[in-house]
């Protein structure tokens, strides 16, 4: 089975726990990816400083950033810029699609309401 972890507010709040969870899942034969709503260029720029726990790559297999927005999501991004849509709703649409496409069985996220409240993927999350 495949699992995904959100980065900001989830892994960043307890990196040691998610490192241990990821390593255990991979050792048991599952897939683990990090799924974040931030773009790759921003992520690469702050990775070393903000996410030092990612240096050890033994507990995850990929980092999926929002450069993977499809045409529909890129179109909605215009609404976010214009203030007509909450960015968290856009991130939620994007993450739900990625989970479906990548066959993610369970996603861990701190923004349950915006990201997965209406999604099809089982989610563990925190209501803000």
């Amino acid at each position: 089975m495949n699992f995904s972890f959100d980065l900001d507010g989830t892994i960043t709040k307890h990196p040691e726990v998610f490192q241990a969870l990821g390593r255990a899942l991979i050792a048991a034969g599952h897939g683990v990816v990090i799924l974040t709503g931030i773009p790759r260029s921003y992520f690469d720029g702050i990775r070393k400083e903000k996410y030092p726990f990612l240096y050890d790559t033994s507990w995850y297999q990929d980092v999926i950033t929002s450069d993977h927005y499809n045409t529909h999501e890129a179109g909605l991004a215009v609404k976010v810029i214009a203030g007509e849509m909450d960015n968290r709703d856009l991130v939620g649409i994007y993450k739900r699609r990625v989970c479906k496409e990548r066959n993610i069985a369970v996603h861990f996220d701190d923004d349950y309401e915006h990201v997965f409240a209406q999604g099809e993927v089982p989610v563990f999350g925190v209501c803000k």
Partner: protein, 132 residues
């Protein structure tokens, strides 16, 4: 399903415990309980614990610049009962003996268990075993 963050972590660990059951192995834990004046250690009776064994070897660099080979990383997704002997670090002390199913028993290089503020126990326990 939504929770407070600490409950979210506890439930997440339980979930991972469930999904790793088939991959969990039984290891033997002998808790260090004392040391005589000649330096000979005494251990509690061996107990069996279940954990996921990651046998990918890694090299870690200590803060002193020393490189150490990690032979196995063990992750315990269910609680480990403390031994209770005085002077121990609970539930795993670096002086404890861990024996894997293949008979390997390397020194405990590092242990970590991020603490759950509600229970005071670790959410999850990780042990790194080095080479003999």
């Amino acid at each position: 399903m939504s929770f407070s963050f600490s409950k979210f972590i506890r439930q997440g660990v339980k979930l991972v415990d469930k999904f790793t059951q088939d991959g969990q192995a039984r290891i033997t834990h002998e808790a260090w309980i004392s040391q005589d004046r000649f330096g000979k250690a005494t251990y509690a009776s061996p107990v069996t614990l279940r954990c996921v064994i990651d046998s990918r070897q890694r090299i870690i660099i200590t803060t002193g610049g020393q490189s150490i080979t990690i032979m196995s990383t063990l992750t315990f997704t269910s609680p480990i009962a403390p031994n209770g002997a005085s002077g121990r670090r609970e539930p795993i002390d670096p002086r404890d003996k861990i024996t894997l199913p293949n008979g390997f028993t390397g020194p405990i290089i590092d242990t970590s268990a991020p603490i759950d503020p509600r229970t005071g126990a670790g959410y999850i326990q990780r042990i790194m075993l080095g080479a003999r």
